[in-house]
Symmetry: C2
Subunit: 91 residues, 2 copies
């Protein structure tokens, strides 16, 4: 239950993640963390911007972190992928 | 000359922006700002991560800002696009 306030952004359209984040806040979370990797990072930023500009105007960006994750592929090799966490806070 | 330390990330491959950022630092900038819009935001994050993990290990992420820009299209309509600025600082 500790990850209740985390929304993982992937390849779906932005509005489905906007809905997920908005629902978390409306169920009482004071903070929601949006996580994404690789190409989905752009969608994570879109999600944060749409939530705070169009749905919940008392929500602010509290923190943004970027990092690199090392993934193992099926052949046992490794590849690096950028990841991002955007922490939104309801004021 | 005031934008000398800004690197605009677009559709080229990551390494060309990594080179641009690394060159700015090596020419004496203490801070370089990476700017991107839309889908290029993921590439901007890749650029920052590759610079600090593989090229300049004394460089840190100083700040990350996200915002929304309104663009006018040729028909006079408007569309919103997310944008990001990553400020890297050499320690």
């Amino acid at each position: 239950m500790s990850e209740d306030n985390v929304v993982y952004v992937g390849n779906k359209e932005v509005m489905s993640y906007v809905l997920a984040v908005t629902t978390q806040f409306n169920e009482g979370s004071s903070e929601v963390i949006i996580k994404a990797r690789g190409r989905a990072i752009s969608t994570a930023v879109d999600t944060a911007e749409v939530v705070r500009n169009r749905f919940l105007e008392d929500v602010e960006v509290e923190d943004i972190e970027i990092s690199t994750e090392t993934l193992e592929n099926e052949e046992g090799g490794q590849s690096n992928v950028s990841s991002m966490e955007i922490t939104l806070k309801r004021g």
